[in-house]
């Protein structure tokens, strides 16, 4: 039994089931991120943990205590909302202490707690202002202060950074991570942004269509995606997915694909999982991330299998730190990531190095990873 148990939880509205048997155990101090496209059920799940939505079946437990039917204010949780949900008519100080007041905490204690939190978040100078007078970043801090002051068992974050501009979002992301490291609190965090998910979490639950597609550490999710959805949702630019044919050549499994010139390219996969043997002489999907296709000088020295490949370049996109190169492989666009100074030109052939250690294969029917 964990600190927060989501035990076979489902949610239905009438006949429509929006969450299918979610089963997650969160340990104390963990930072769990629920990530997925809009409508995947991640916010519904968060609201169910908060008690803002009913649970159709299954149980939510915090510290072993069943929370089904318990009023949100009695769950010892705190929540930071997308819009921050600061009470517009109250000062920052009042916003922070409102929850304590509702719980009947005497004023001196409330003020003490408020000052501690304000100091922690460096918002002491804002305490007498109204939310309307604050910038986006300041509101974000106040919203976190309101959550922190309650000293809750679990923090719930509902897309807290999506209303901030790009730069502030990165700053606040680091801020949240620092806070988590310092206080060691248990956090469940909802976002649709896969970078936030990767950077913040200790574990990620990727959700789609009311199902948890995969639950794992950021590295597991990124390197060993359970299925095609997880593979393409996580990572930017997205993982390349190419139809290939598997063949045994001299005892080594090869993935065969077609270059821009119509000629066959064979990529050796000596370390492919054993299950791949069953797919010999069939069509499968090869997933390979852009950073695994490089110029030969930029290839990973520690990789076990680097395969060279020459192919025609269609488009190049210099992005400062890297240069992204688009080419056509097996009839699909495929993106490669070069060093910034790689001398690539559109319309010319170029030698690529492909790190086949990072390649994954998917069953084209079930769309799950072959492992």
């Amino acid at each position: 039994m964990g600190f927060l148990d989501i035990d076979n939880v489902t949610k239905s509205y009438g006949a429509v089931q929006v969450l299918h048997r979610v089963d997650i155990t969160v340990e104390e101090g963990e930072f769990l991120v629920l990530v997925g496209p809009s409508g995947c059920g991640k916010s519904t799940l968060l609201n169910m943990i908060a008690g803002l939505e009913g649970i159709s079946s299954g149980e939510v437990r915090i510290k072993g205590r069943v929370m089904n039917g318990v009023h949100p204010s009695r769950r010892n949780i705190a929540m930071v909302f997308q819009s921050y949900a600061l009470y517009p008519n109250m000062t920052v100080g009042k916003n922070i202490t409102f929850g304590l007041e509702m719980h009947g905490i005497p004023k001196p204690e409330r003020d003490k707690a408020m000052r501690n939190v304000a100091q922690l978040l460096q918002i002491e100078h804002l305490l007498d202002r109204k939310p309307g007078q604050l910038s986006g970043g300041q509101r974000q801090r106040v919203a976190m202060g309101r959550a922190l002051v309650r000293n809750p068992d679990v923090f719930l974050f509902d897309e807290p950074l999506s209303n901030l501009d790009a730069k502030l979002r990165v700053d606040m992301r680091i801020e949240i991570k620092k806070l988590h490291q310092r206080l060691g609190t248990t956090i469940v965090y909802v976002t649709h942004d896969q970078i936030e998910a990767m950077t913040l979490s200790t574990r990620i639950a990727v959700m789609f269509d009311g199902h948890v597609q995969q639950l794992g550490t950021p590295k597991e999710i990124y390197d060993s995606p359970a299925n095609l959805f997880v593979a393409t949702f996580m990572g930017s630019p997205a993982m390349n997915v190419l139809p290939v044919r598997l063949e045994d050549r001299n005892g080594v499994l090869h993935a065969l694909l077609t270059g821009a010139d119509g000629q066959e390219r064979a990529l050796a996969m000596p370390h492919a999982p054993a299950a791949c043997a069953a797919y010999k002489d069939t069509e499968v999907l090869l997933g390979i991330r852009p950073e695994a296709i490089t110029d030969p000088e930029g290839a990973d020295r520690n990789a076990r299998t680097i395969q060279p490949m020459t192919n025609r370049v269609t488009v190049i996109e210099p992005a400062g730190a890297d240069t992204f190169v688009t080419m056509v492989l097996s009839g699909r666009d495929c993106i490669a990531r070069m060093r910034a100074d790689a001398s690539v030109e559109p319309g010319r052939d170029f030698d690529f190095a492909i790190n086949m250690d990072k390649a994954v294969l998917f069953d084209p029917k079930t769309q799950t990873r072959i492992a």
């Binding site: 803002l52 939505e53 009913g54 069943v66 089904n68 039917g69 009023h71 009695r74």
Partner: protein, 299 residues
């Protein structure tokens, strides 16, 4: 917000599920009795031989059959048709024209808007009093014109059985056209300027801009204006009482004045009730589809 009724729900959570309903319940009860119950009661009375007091003696469709043979009712219905058509038509044209012109970066727009709209704040009784006198040939407009030397000027509509209903139209338009203006103005201000710029770059003239781009986008405002005005027209009572008292004779009777006089003055409650039911059906025919569409859209 949420269905949190679970068998194991704590007291606070259960309180939360029934308290809102409890708060709404008195209003619902009041509505069910004072609106829908009363409507049912009136409908019932319209099938009885009630006279001065309600009677529960069922007479079937007799009141309705009699109602449509009463001359005054037919005059009232004819008047309503004339009044509603002209009132809605003229108010819409004037309101639209004022709104379009006011939307041309007019100096003192605020003051003009205030002037156009203030009659809406007045009671129809006040409006009726003002216009009754203004249109009175002996002391009002006609008298003044003649004093100014236009000896042949006559304007006696208010005393004329054929024309009196049009004076009701004038007064009603005076009262409500500013409101229609406000509605169209809000609609005009809601149109995206970029669409208009795009149309101009496409070479549309001002005339075409209004005809092809702007007016079609005011469709919701047209609809709202129509619904509100027709509803006001069917309910019209005070204005007629104050302006003409339904006269000369019963030349300006409307269903509302008919209902009142048959029910409370002539002690023909059954007939009065049946006329009220006809009024309700007329309004419902317009309002129900409109409200239904509005509520569905919002869902």
């Amino acid at each position: 917000m949420a269905d949190m009724t679970g068998s194991g729900a704590d007291f606070r959570t259960r309180l939360q599920t029934w308290l809102p309903k409890l708060v709404l319940a008195p209003s619902l009860a009041i509505m069910l009795i004072f609106v829908y119950g009363f409507i049912a009661f009136t409908i019932y009375l319209s099938f009885t031989d009630s006279r001065m007091l309600p009677s529960f003696n069922w007479v079937g469709w007799q009141n309705y059959e009699r109602l449509f043979r009463i001359r005054e009712w037919n005059i009232a219905m004819r008047n309503l048709a004339i009044f509603a058509t002209l009132y809605i038509g003229i108010s819409t044209v004037i309101g639209l024209a004022l709104a379009i012109f006011l939307d041309q970066k007019i100096r003192a727009e605020g003051a003009l808007r205030t002037i156009y709209l203030y009659p809406m704040a007045l009671s129809f009784i006040v409006t009726g009093t003002a216009w009754k006198w203004f249109l009175d040939p002996a002391i009002g407009l006609q008298n003044t014109m003649q004093m100014w030397g236009w000896e042949s000027f006559t304007f006696t509509w208010i005393k004329d059985r054929e024309m009196a209903i049009y004076t009701v139209v004038i007064a009603a338009v005076w009262q409500s056209s500013g409101f229609v203006m406000a509605m169209f103005l809000a609609g005009l201000r809601g149109i995206d300027n970029e669409i208009l710029r795009a149309a101009q770059i496409d070479g549309a003239s001002n005339w075409n801009l209004y005809r092809r781009i702007i007016l079609p986008q005011l469709r919701p405002a047209f609809l709202s204006a129509f619904v509100i005005l027709s509803h006001l027209a069917i309910k019209s009572y005070d204005l007629v009482i104050a302006l003409t008292g339904g006269g000369p004779g019963n030349a300006t009777a409307l269903p509302a004045t008919f209902m009142y006089s048959y029910t409370f003055t002539r002690n023909q409650m059954g007939i009065g009730a049946s006329s009220a039911v006809i009024m309700l059906l007329t309004i419902a025919a317009i309002m129900v589809p409109y409200l239904y569409a509005e509520l569905r859209e919002k869902k």
